[in-house]
Amino acid sequence: MKSLEELKAIREKMQGKVGFRKEEAEGIRVVVGMATCGIAAGARPVLNAFVEGVAQAGLNDKITVTQAGCIGLCQYEPIVEIIEPGKDKITYAKMTPDKAKEVIEKHLKGGQVVAQYTLSM
């Protein structure tokens, strides 16, 4: 059983740091479709992969992972959109946790869009 004391210790550690609230408007947003279609297609593990990958890479101050509803392209779920200020939105389709790892490495860290996973309309 995890004790609440541990949570107090985390608070004390975190409150010493300033600026754990990032500026939403400036950072990159990773948006995972989490409506019925997305969830049924496997969005939950994809979302987890992004949350964990971003935390492991220490990019939490620059990248926010969030959820969205259905954008009407249910057949391409799990869909992940990467929105970077000043750039075109990139839409990845039929994502998996493995593809998510690749996108974190190449796109989020390296700045190179993984073209073969994007949705071309």
Binding site: M14, M34, C37, A40, P45, G72
Partner: protein, 185 residues
Amino acid sequence: MMTELSLNVLDVAQNSVKAKATLIKVAVESDFEKDLMKIVISDNGCGMDEQQLSAVCDPFYTTRTTRKVGLGVSFFKLAAESAGGEFSITSEKGVGTTTTATFQISNIDRMPLGDMTATMHSLITLNTGIDFVYEYRVDDKSFTLDTREFREILDGVPFDVPEVSEYIREYLASNKEEVDCGKIL
């Protein structure tokens, strides 16, 4: 169709999020003597009027504009009714909505409960402005996670910073293990 009941919970709880709930309660109770699993999701969101409530189990009813079907509630209802269980929704405009699904645990058509830890972790860390009360019970053992309690201790530190997020995941996982002794439900 979902592959785990926990995915239905994640999906149906999104309806509470969209209903602008500030408190969402999720309870998963398994009683092996009665061979009964019960999942209750209740919120204090905007609620539904009678017309909406009567249409909510219709797969071709949705309030969305991006597509014409609304399968979330229908999937959950189907999962319960095909596993010897029952399904109900009660709602009051301006008060909130409660969704209840029961399942015969031993029924061969009952979906596995699946990863409730991942479902609750996702809900809590993605909706940091909403409070969640999660109760997990197996026979006479249970645990409760109340984010209002966490929020008070954290005093402004958000749920989505990696250290807190990881703590929440471990809290859910270790308490679950104590309650169900690792049994796969």
